[in-house]
């Protein structure tokens, strides 16, 4: 039986990689992918604790997280497409309409 701590450390490292992607990358699509990575790390942690406690509620929560992530991806990608149509922007640093008047 693999100890819970191993899964938790893996989840933490995955979350760190995802956070790094959000900070370093400027392509909006890759940033969204990094967000998905962080959500999955959170799911792994939820499931690890769910097994640790012998309680299936964590799995229910992870299921809801997956559904919310799907909704987030749909709306986020729609916004990306809309911004690209109106302004031809994929690079996050160029999207500064609200910053510089």
């Amino acid at each position: 039986m693999i100890p819970t701590a191993d899964f938790l450390v893996l989840g933490a490292v995955l979350f760190g990689i995802g956070a790094l992607g959000v900070l370093v990358r400027r392509n909006v699509l890759v940033v969204l992918m990094s967000v998905e990575l962080m959500l999955n790390a959170a799911n792994l942690t939820l499931l690890a604790f769910s097994r640790e406690r012998g309680d299936a509620a964590g799995q229910g929560l992870a299921f809801l997280v997956i559904a919310v992530a799907a909704a987030e991806a749909a709306v986020g990608l729609a916004i990306v497409v809309a911004v690209f149509r109106t302004r031809r922007i994929v690079n996050l640093d160029e999207a500064r309409l609200l910053r510089d008047p």
Partner: protein, 165 residues
Amino acid sequence: MSGERVAFYLLAGLTLLGAIATVTRRNPLVAAVWLVTTFLGLAGLFALLQAHFLALIQVLVYAGAIMVLFVFVIMVLGRAEDEPLGFFTAPVSKLLGVGAVGVSTWLLCKALGSLPATEVKQGDFGTVRAAGNLLLGPYLFPFEAVSLLLLAAVLGAVALTRTRK
């Protein structure tokens, strides 16, 4: 080393490799394919955690539906060329952010890794039957709320990308 242990290290290595490649590949399409690798590895890890139903959902929803959406949008934007990664030429703020993430991840790993190993309970949870009983029993209201959220998200996506005549 037991077979379970070997499976864990293989899947964890695959997951981490895919995650690192996702963040470092400069072509978004290549990054998307590596992200699929990560999701498949995670599905295997979910199965190791006795979450068989969620492992299935992970493959269907994440590696299937969400990634198809990503690849589709990458194709629609039609800009598969790379971007400047700018890791070392970055301004100070970016390097500070990377340092903060590194330190916090290291601290998190240190704190979580020292967790005492407790006896893991063997339950029948995680099977499709148990997940169905959970989601359509005590979790019925969140389940229905999430279906409403998905409907709202679909309508919102259509409204956002609709071209006006």
